[in-house]
Symmetry: C2
Subunit: 98 residues, 2 copies
């Protein structure tokens, strides 16, 4: 399936992940994706401008938090929960329950 470039699962360092999460919109995307299997961009966009959201998705992908797959005309976004949990045990759980 075509997809965007994504960082290797073991590539992002803690600083990159913390910076990616230290933004209310990106944290909301991660929170939403933690509750569903995946979501397309429209579902995550809300009433926010698409251009700024593209930047947020890119930051999340580069931090290894989100994987985006292209299916037809849709971009499907998945939280890379297992990879993040393996690399930073307990981090997402602590943040998502806060």
């Amino acid at each position: 399936m075509p997809s965007f470039d994504h960082s290797a699962p073991d590539a992002p360092d803690l600083m990159t992940v913390l910076r990616a999460l230290a933004d209310p919109i990106r944290l909301e995307v991660v929170q939403t994706l933690s509750r569903v299997e995946y979501a397309n961009c429209a579902a995550l966009l809300g009433d926010r401008p698409k251009s700024s959201m593209s930047h947020h998705f890119q930051v999340l992908r580069e931090a290894g938090l989100v994987r985006t797959e292209i299916q037809g005309v849709q971009h499907l976004n998945f939280l890379r929960r297992a990879e993040i949990d393996a690399r930073f045990p307990g981090l997402l759980a602590a943040i998502l329950q806060s």
Copy 2:
């Protein structure tokens, strides 16, 4: 004991804490303070300029991560581990073990 203004233990929100931690110098200060009872500013300064470190300490205090007490001519810095653990269970543990 005189001290700086500090945020109330229940005041800082997750975003403020994540932003405070999403900086390599501030994260290093938190890591160092997690291993000792307290440290004065000189011990945490390294060879970095004092002015920029003052800003970092202020950010850490405002996020409720660090308490600074004035003892004579020294500023003693403590990690507010118990308060942060109570408010964001598991967060510091996950970050400090990464």
